[in-house]
């Protein structure tokens, strides 16, 4: 038995309705037809009349997709119990589905701040303003980065380059040792990019950091990648396998590193991040292809992905004073943010970044999408019309 209010409510929600065996009990039936209800079939069809049948609607159901492969879970940093000295560790990867909403994401993507072992006066102005007061001291730099929300830190030992300062492996190792003593976050260790020097530097550094499960960046085809793998195995670290925008190269380098004896869960891959406006589309598609192939079962690609989003600062649009492009102090951080979002949605697990505002925004998106946190402020969508 329905009362009139119910009937009106139902009628307002449907298009047409078929009423069978209905009798309306009312002393006096007064219906006020609101404008919103364009068509109320009651009067016409109150008797046992058949209304034209509606076309069957297709029902939407969210499909569960099957994935045969999964991504390795990689741990960066080791606690005291595990043989290191970190206060906390970072776990990345471990996905069993392509999208977080499909339920296969144990770990959210993370952000690492770049820290250098010597001052970086060539930085764009907006970055100099933030980092110059700490860039004489990697520890101070790292501490400030952690305050800005870094999940972990990447120390780039650029001074070891023979063309820069030719810092010895021993001295570089001291920098890393000190960093490990002073900060409690897991770290990524980068060389200078000099193919002769890097393996030597990594060897010493890996030794002093033994057991800390750092990520050594990187093993690549330009240098003695076997040696990098060996020191990582010996002193218990992870390896970053870096290639340049070529999925087949990435596969073969990963494979070679595994053949060297590197455990499957100790490799992170970096297919190169070309900057926004400077080839980003190649990076974007390669990351998507790596993730998809990995989940389809390609075992040489089933590792988390790291992206050097900092490359965004190589694009002129991020730093050049060009009035037609608008204020560069706002443009630069946004350039890095958008670059990071592109790789994030493509499937990156680690994003190496430099500007605190870019990091803040990207972390907001990460906690939204991957952790579904409650919004700090509730809004009503329809209100956009009244902004």
């Amino acid at each position: 038995m329905l009362n009139l209010d119910d009937i009106i409510r139902i009628l307002s929600e449907v298009d047409e309705i078929e009423l069978e065996g209905v009798s309306i009990e009312a002393q006096e039936l007064i219906m006020e037809l609101k404008q919103g209800l364009a068509y109320i079939p009651v009067a016409k069809h109150a008797k046992k009349e058949k209304v034209e049948k509606k076309k069957e609607k297709l029902k939407y159901e969210r499909k569960i997709r099957e994935y045969t492969g999964s991504i390795q879970e990689v741990q960066i940093g080791a606690t005291r119990k595990e043989g290191g000295t970190r206060d906390y560790v970072i776990k990345i990867g471990g996905q069993t589905t392509l999208y977080p909403y499909e339920g296969g994401y144990k770990n959210r993507p993370v952000v690492s701040f770049d820290v250098f072992d010597i001052p970086q006066p060539q930085f764009p102005k907006v970055l100099r303003e933030i980092w110059s007061e700490v860039w004489h001291d990697p520890v101070a730099w790292a501490e400030k980065a952690l305050e800005y929300g870094a999940d972990l830190i990447t120390i780039h030992l650029v001074s070891t380059d023979p063309h820069i300062k030719d810092t010895s492996p021993r001295e570089a190792a001291k920098t890393v040792e000190e960093l490990l003593q002073q900060i409690k976050a897991p770290i990524i260790i980068g060389g200078s990019g000099n193919p002769e020097k890097d393996p030597k530097v990594f060897e010493k550094v890996a030794e002093v950091a033994e057991g800390e499960l750092c990520l050594i960046a990187s093993a690549n085809f330009d240098l003695d990648y076997k040696k990098v793998a060996q020191v990582a195995i010996k002193y218990k670290h992870n390896v970053l396998s870096w290639t340049s925008l070529d999925i087949n190269d990435q596969k073969s380098l990963n494979k070679l590193l595994f053949e060297e004896g590197l455990p499957r869960n100790r490799l992170v891959q970096d297919p190169t991040t070309a900057a926004l406006g400077y080839g980003l589309e190649y990076t974007y598609s390669i990351i998507q292809r790596i993730k998809q192939n990995a989940l389809k079962g390609d075992s040489e690609l089933q590792n988390p992905i790291s992206c050097g989003v900092t490359n965004a600062w190589g694009a002129r649009e991020s730093w050049m004073k060009t009035p037609e492009w608008g204020a560069r102090e706002y443009r630069g951080p946004l350039w890095e943010t958008v670059n990071a979002l592109a790789v994030l949605f493509a499937g990156a697990d680690i994003m190496m970044m430099l500007h605190p505002l870019a990091v803040k925004t990207v972390k907001m998106v990460i906690t939204s999408i991957f952790e579904k946190v409650n919004p700090s402020r509730e809004v009503k969508y329809e209100d956009w019309i009244k902004i």
Binding site: K57, K59, Y101, G277, Y330, V338, A342, F345, V379
Partner: protein, 466 residues
């Protein structure tokens, strides 16, 4: 869903290889149809003879993309996509950016805003990056004012427009004024949809449907289609942060996957994302613009075919337009320029000749640096198949013999009275070989083209001339 094969298409063509479509064979035409380089109508034979009626209809059905293409205004196409990931083919219709105008702005403010939207233009790698439309929102809830504002916009801009209000009476006033502009109507909801559907039908305009629940969206869209509206755009609602933002993006991805992977037609529609919501949580214009642009990027990366925005700051829009340019670049062909000899400024016979590649980004970077440095020069553009200097070198697409070929083909020796070329610093290792096989002297230029003006000043002017 697997893409259609040329054979499937071929079977529905006349098969007489008459070449009227411009292709050599029906089979070649079939491939071009799939690549969307040709339209069904190009095979006139199919339309002339009645016996092809059935084939023609089947062919059109077969070639209709899983995401319907909707036209706003007199030619802005949105949707029409065939794949989920650009590497599977390419994306076709770049996300359209609509900037808002509110009817509570003053007339001067509106005119100024419209003017800025109209003329917004940034050149990047030879392409003009522009905005696509104007979304007029009724904040006053006053139909008279709304009508005035729509009129003002229509008079001052040729851009496609969207009329935004949840009140159908207000929309109807706008439609009356902008009817010959085929505006986008925003928005039908589960409560008001009949009136909106009626308007969309009567005025033959595309209609946005706003519904946050994807199952209800699917039902609602089918009701509206059955009512007779065919051009529908989905708005799942956008939120500035947290779980609601995740839900919106989840729905966008799910809708696209359902349509493309499972052929689920009701959700095979263009999607609207709305970044203006940033202004609901940030009142500082700089912070709001930064957040808005970041949201817009997130939406664009997750299938938004149209995005509404409020900011007009170039610094906030440039990264987005660049992202769009990147993501919508056809992966089958990098953006290229024609190989040849280009004049920058007013070069004469003693001007320098700079050698570079035909990757658009490379060429335009070099050309703009030369121009900015007020250098008069020739640029010899090599056909490296669209590769930048380093990839071309690494892939053996930039070689000494290629330089020789181009020097001859474009008769560089007739343009200048010297025999010296400047090559990119990156290509230094080719200098000896180029000298050997061409007989031209080679100067190795700087690594980065921004230092070309200084290089010309210091190295060319002093000892460049042969």
């Amino acid at each position: 869903m697997a893409r259609i094969s040329p054979l499937e298409v071929y079977k529905l063509l006349p098969g007489i290889n008459c070449k009227k479509c411009g292709a050599d064979t029906c089979m070649a035409f079939a491939s071009q149809l799939i690549e969307r380089k040709k339209k069904v109508e190009d095979c006139t034979v199919l339309f002339e003879e009645d016996k092809y009626k059935e084939k023609r209809e089947k062919l059109i059905e077969l070639l209709t993309p899983p995401i319907k293409e909707v036209v706003i205004g007199d030619g802005l196409k949105v949707g029409g996509e065939e794949v989920l990931y650009r590497h599977e083919l390419t994306f076709f219709n770049p996300t359209a950016l609509f900037i808002d105008i509110s009817d509570d702005m003053s007339d001067e403010e509106i005119e100024e805003r419209v003017r800025r939207i109209n003329k917004f233009k940034i050149e990047r790698v030879g392409q003009e990056l522009k905005l696509d439309g104007i979304a007029i929102r009724c904040k006053t809830n006053d139909e008279v004012r709304f009508g005035e504002v729509v009129l003002k916009v229509v008079e001052n801009s040729k851009m496609p427009i969207a009329l935004c209000s949840f009140n159908p009476e207000i929309i109807e006033v706008g439609l009356g004024i902008a009817i010959n502009r085929r505006p986008l109507i925003y928005a039908a909801t589960r409560n008001n949809w009949k009136k909106f559907a009626e308007l969309a039908k009567n005025y033959n305009c595309p209609l946005v449907v706003y519904e946050e629940d994807i199952e209800k969206m699917s039902d609602l869209v089918q009701d509206i289609e059955e009512y007779g509206v065919s051009d529908i755009i989905l708005d799942f609602g956008t939120y500035p942060q947290g779980e609601p933002l995740a839900r919106a993006i989840e729905n966008m991805i799910s809708a696209r996957r359902a349509a493309i992977e499972d052929g689920f037609k009701p959700l095979g529609k263009p999607i609207l994302g709305n970044a203006t919501v940033a202004w609901l949580v940030e009142s500082d214009p700089i912070k709001a613009s930064h957040l808005e642009s970041s949201l817009a990027a997130s939406l664009m990366l997750n299938y938004a075919d149209i995005i509404f925005m409020h900011t007009l700051e170039t610094w906030a829009i440039l990264p987005l337009l660049t992202l769009r340019q990147n993501i919508y670049t056809d992966p089958r062909v990098p953006i290229q320029v024609e190989p040849g000899l280009y004049a920058i400024g007013k070069p004469n016979e003693s001007s320098p000749v700079l050698v570079t590649t035909n990757f658009a980004l490379t060429y335009y970077t070099v050309a703009s640096d030369v121009e900015a440095g007020k250098v008069d020069a020739y640029i010899l553009v090599l056909d490296t198949e669209g590769l930048a200097v380093e990839p071309a070198l690494a892939g053996a697409k930039f070689t000494a013999s290629l330089v020789k070929e181009h020097l001859e083909k474009f008769k560089v020796d007739e343009k200048v009275n010297h025999k010296t070329i400047i090559i990119p610093g990156m290509a230094a290792r080719l200098s000896g070989e180029i000298e050997d096989i061409t007989g031209w002297r080679v100067l190795v230029g700087p690594i980065d083209s921004s230092r070309i003006p200084k290089f010309i000043e210091e190295k060319w002017k002093k000892n460049g001339k042969a």
